[in-house]
């Protein structure tokens, strides 16, 4: 086990589910290190938001970029040095509002990088405003009478854009989250995991998700785009988690 802790003081709210994502990532890194991945060759990029501070808490190469730009940063790093393993950390405001153009094109481009989105359905760091994934009627400081827009389904957008690995997981289920995170990093191509991440200060969805998240069926085929498009949209009593889609396509950096 490599100690991946840093000297940085953690400033997340005590009990925030970001701590679980942090643990999962460190565990996954150690698993990967034990099977040959060289720590020197791992880079994490991050956007701006609560999620972005994760870069300070892991003792590996990191690039804290701008709000919404961590995927573009990661693409540039990977193109410049394809030997590196590059993982981008984003928030839902970050990736699905400010920088969504980069996701669409990263999916289309199929650069061999991983995007992990801390989807807490709010702007956490700026104190709880509405984001593209907030439920309709969400009341925050900028929408005191409730938001009027329908939420975006980011995984549907990413599937339609050509992403080759699309998954959802729940931060409350540490084991499953780790399995999916690891598979996403190991995937050759653009992989994205939407992590349902309750924000205990502004949008505490812990109970809501605990009751609803479920795993995809055991024999769910991961190579059927039409099926994946239906499955990622199911949103009622059951919120399916797992790998919805995984295929191989030519990788962007390989063509240079």
């Amino acid at each position: 086990m490599i100690d991946l802790n840093t000297q940085a003081k953690n400033t997340w709210c005590p009990g925030c589910t970001n701590f679980l994502i942090l643990s999962a990532f460190k565990n996954v890194l150690n698993e990967l290190f034990s099977t040959g991945l060289n720590k020197d060759n791992v880079v994490m990029t991050a956007g701006i938001g609560c999620h972005g501070k994760i870069a300070d808490y892991v003792n590996i190469n990191s690039f804290i970029s701008l709000h919404g730009r961590e995927v573009a940063t990661a693409t540039g790093i990977k193109l410049a040095n394809p030997k590196l393993t590059v993982v981008a950390f984003a928030g839902d405001g970050d990736a699905y509002a400010e920088g969504i153009e980069h996701l669409v094109h990263a999916a289309k481009r199929n650069s061999n990088i991983t995007l992990l989105v801390h989807n807490n359905q709010v702007f956490g760091l700026t104190t709880g405003q509405v984001t593209p994934t907030s439920v309709k009627g969400y009341k925050g400081r900028s929408t005191p009478f409730g938001s009027v827009e329908e939420p975006l389904n980011p995984l549907s957008v990413l599937l339609s854009s050509g992403a080759t690995f699309v998954a959802r997981t729940y931060a409350g289920n540490l084991q499953e989250m780790q399995v999916i995170m690891k598979k996403a990093i190991q995937h050759k191509g653009f992989s994205v995991v939407d992590i349902l991440q309750p924000c205990i200060s502004f949008k505490d969805t812990r109970e809501y998700f605990k009751e609803r998240v479920c795993e995809l069926e055991k024999n769910y085929p991961t190579d059927k785009l039409d099926m994946a498009l239906v499955e990622v949209r199911s949103n009622g009593d059951k919120i399916p988690c797992g790998i919805f889609y995984q295929v191989q396509k030519p990788i962007f950096e390989d063509s240079f």
Partner: protein, 558 residues
Amino acid sequence: MKKQNIFSVLVGGAAGDGAREAAANLSRLLTNVGFEVIQTVEYPSLIRGGHNFARVTFSDDKIHSDYEALDILVALNKETVDLHFKELKKDGLVIFDCEKQDKKIINLPLCAYAKEMGAPPILRTAAALGAICWILNLDLEELNKIFKTVFKDKAEANIKLSVKGYENFKNRKITQIKLPKPKKIIRKLVDGNEAFAEGLIKAGLENYFAYPMTPSSSILHFLAGKAHEYKIKVAQPENEIAVINMALGSAYAGKRTATASTGGGFALMLEAMAMAGMEELPIVVADSQRAGTSTGVATRTGQGDLAFVRNLPGEFPQIVLAPGDQEEAYLLGGLSLNLAWQFQTPVVVLLDKLLSENMSACQLDDKKIKIISSKPSKAGKKYQRYEFTDDGISPLAFPGDKDAVVKVCSYEHDEKGYITDSSEITKAMCEKRFAKIKGIVKELAKHEMIKVYGDTKSKNTLVFFGSTKGAILEALKYIKKPVRAVQILCLEPLDTAQLKKILKESNRIIDIENNYTGQLANLIREKTGIEVCKKILRYDSFPFEPLSLADTINKILK
């Protein structure tokens, strides 16, 4: 002043007629036989239709700008005759595909020749070039060599057509123009964008990202074409924000990286350029300015971005360079990449349509550009990306270096790269970044960043930056009173002491710019407290023309 032999040929037609390419081939020919050549192009933002022309001015002696007065006008359509006939010199002539010869208009069946040959109409320009070879008494073989280099295995039809044009004029004994003997100097015909890109390559460019926007696009096209030859990775991402962020990812990963755009695209990059200043990432960003504000006049020239590009958000030592011609674009292309890496900071290079797209016969001296790298790091477990040093420059390591954890951060950060809001560290880090200025100034002093031309002792001073250089140096030939011209190549950090010294000796300072507000004059006042006495400003989307500029200056100095 002794009279200089200056000749001009204009090729004009509708967009899609190949006027520009034909003129470029003529320019290449004239360059190869040893003339000084300047080629300018004018075209609207259209793919087909619209009036397009390229003008080739050449001489046996140094010229800095092209001239409107024409010896030969090649008209690929009637509109070209109508628009440019008035620009002909007294014995100038027109080559035009019409029924019969008429005083200055000499008919040549361009379309019929192309048809006979089964060649597409666009190739008809080759017959006109053949006819020009007769008039200028140039060896047709030299032209055909150019066709072979440019069109490779498709050169045959061009060669046959050029012979047709040549023979036609020869048989009709069309009057020839006697040219002076060119000095046999080996030069290369390049436009400013190509020269800039060549400078980047010479300084070790490894990756280039860009989103197309005229007039910066041909840098992207040129580098994309050279990608395999020079092992450069060239990519066109979804927008300029992606461009700059990818470019900075690339720089962080250790690759010498650049990008370019024009005002609008540059504006989209600002946030990330400030991040480059904060994170101390080396990057070169060129802004090739177009005329007007916003989308403006896409294919015309202007200098409206000086105030903008030297005022990026936040505070860090900014470097802004502005070459005035192709040779300077080459040298400053190289210098910009070296400065970016030596000082781990973004460097802006200001170009504009005129410089980017004008061609001139140049001597690009590749001995003048060496690759200068950043302060190397021994890396290792104790590595700190933002280690405090006397000169403000921290050793640079990259992800993948053994045992080094390389953390960069757009927030204020401590030596290791962790986020901080400590007021002490915030102050110290700000001072660390600004400590680099000393080194930057020292490095810049090795290069000539303020140049003085003309009568260097004169108390009449013209000041300028960038591409107005051509018209101004050419105008010097016609200004009656003694005058000197001062060019500023590095606008940030400005060598205030030297500039002050030069300007203090002047009685009359005339500022010349391609913009409305006189941004250079404002910069000079801001930095030196010196007010220029007169501004000559042009903001109608066209560059200055040497003769009328000389006229204006003569009136002021009278």
